[in-house]
């Protein structure tokens, strides 16, 4: 049954990768890439149960953390355009109206 889950995740991964490469907008790419990251975590989790090497869950955990941090970093880039001020809520207002993609 683990195998079924793994195959399903691999299929998901390939479809997400295809979207990441096809675009067409940069947001499509980022959404697809984010999806890819989440699914990789799941892949490792299932893989560790498949092979019975449960210490690999540490890896999945690190992936999840890193994924979280890079998503936050990306959001910062979107909402602030810089890394040195604190995160705000409704910042995506006037100053970001420009198109940068």
């Amino acid at each position: 049954m683990y195998a079924v889950a793994i195959v399903a995740i691999l299929v998901t991964l390939s479809l997400a990768l295809a979207r990441a490469l096809m675009g067409p907008t940069v947001f499509d790419r980022i959404a697809a890439i984010n999806m890819f990251g989440t699914k990789t975590v799941l892949l490792i989790a299932v893989f560790s149960f498949l092979t019975g090497r449960l210490d690999l869950l540490d890896m999945a955990l690190v992936y999840a953390m890193i994924n979280f941090i890079s998503v936050v970093a990306v959001l910062r880039l979107f909402s602030h355009k810089d890394f040195h001020s604190p995160a705000e809520n409704n910042v995506i207002s006037v100053k970001v109206r420009r198109r940068w993609f």
Binding site: V7, I69, H84, V91
Partner: protein, 326 residues
């Protein structure tokens, strides 16, 4: 099943790499690079290199990606200029030649997974058979890393230290007073969801980093990975609560001190073993029995690695994030 995963991952890698060449939006390129890094880390994991996988995920997809994004954040334009089509043939020729030579070189390479090949029969068996009794550390990678090839690891810590010094030399010039941000912190509305979530998550990450640090003798992990994860926690804090807030927790002077401290701990263990009559980094002389000495040595050395890596990663991130957008 392993084969299926292997081949799918390799295919994904190849597709991602082509994507990176073709896509001109740098933002997407960096995100794809993070994917590339995740994928290769997963591949390392399926090939039993757990420690390497942990490091690659934390470094490649974590630190490198964040640094690349920080660089991009200083840039208004996120698109690469389309390269000149006529200039392609020379690089292509160089690359194809190099590739052909490499393929020629693999013709005599031992088969994948061959247990009779030279690497599997010459030096490594000694580590696999003797490491546990000579060092008492079950994780053979840690034993080799910290003891047999401990001097390489000292070099590695010094490389990281050098990177810290180099980035400070390049980007440390303009010092803003971090306390200036204090007023701003209160004025602007904060992203509530992110803040609360981070408050929950950051301690967990830090705890996990400590687990990786001290569990490195028995499982995947060690000072390097722990340092990176710990610094990732502070980086997250800095991203959510602002650079000023983060620098108030760990001022730059403390970071500078920690950076040096780690290297000095590592090198100091070596000097201590000189004084106790052993060769440099011979931990066996640190205690009455060899295994106990090795244990103390490896623990201290890993601690040194962890401290320097943590401090340097943060120094580098702060240096990047503190730069004004030009």
């Amino acid at each position: 099943m392993d084969l299926l995963i292997d081949i799918s991952l390799l295919t994904f890698l190849a597709v991602t790499a082509i994507g990176i060449i073709r896509i001109t939006n740098l933002f997407a390129v960096i995100m794809l690079f993070a994917i590339f890094s995740f994928l290769s880390a997963t591949l390392f994991m399926t090939m039993d290199a757990v420690d390497v996988a942990l490091t690659e995920a934390a470094v490649g997809a974590g630190i490198s990606t964040v640094l690349m994004l920080a660089t991009l954040a200083l840039n208004k334009d996120h698109n690469e200029k389309q390269p000149d089509k006529n200039r392609h043939w020379l690089p292509l020729a160089v690359v194809l030649t190099t590739g052909a030579v490499l393929v020629y070189g693999t013709l005599d390479l031992p088969d994948f997974g061959d247990p009779a090949s030279a690497p599997q029969t010459h030096v490594a068996p000694h580590y696999i058979e003797k490491a546990i009794e000579e060092t008492g550390v079950p994780n053979i990678v840690t034993a080799v890393l910290a003891s047999y090839r401990g001097f390489d690891t000292l070099g590695e810590v010094v490389v990281i230290f050098t990177a810290g010094i180099a980035v400070l030399l390049l980007l440390g010039g303009r010092r803003e007073d971090p306390l200036d941000d204090g007023a701003k912190d209160k004025r602007v509305p904060q992203n509530l969801v992110l803040r609360i979530v981070s408050k929950i998550v950051i301690p967990v990450i830090m705890l996990f980093a400590l687990y990786v640090q001290f569990h490195g003798d028995y499982g995947p992990g060690g000072g390097f990975q722990a340092g990176v994860i710990m610094s990732a926690a502070i980086i997250l804090y800095s991203l959510v609560f602002g650079l000023g807030a983060a620098e108030r927790i760990i001022p730059k002077s403390v970071l500078m001190f920690l950076t040096s401290l780690g290297v000095l701990i590592f090198a100091g263990v070596g000097i201590a073993s000189l004084f106790l009559g052993g060769n440099y980094l011979n931990y066996s002389v640190l205690a009455s029995s060899q295994v106990a000495g090795q244990h103390i040595g490896i623990l201290l050395v890993e601690l040194g690695v962890g401290i320097t890596v943590f401090a340097v990663m943060l120094t580098i991130f702060f240096a990047f994030a503190g730069r004004e957008r030009s």
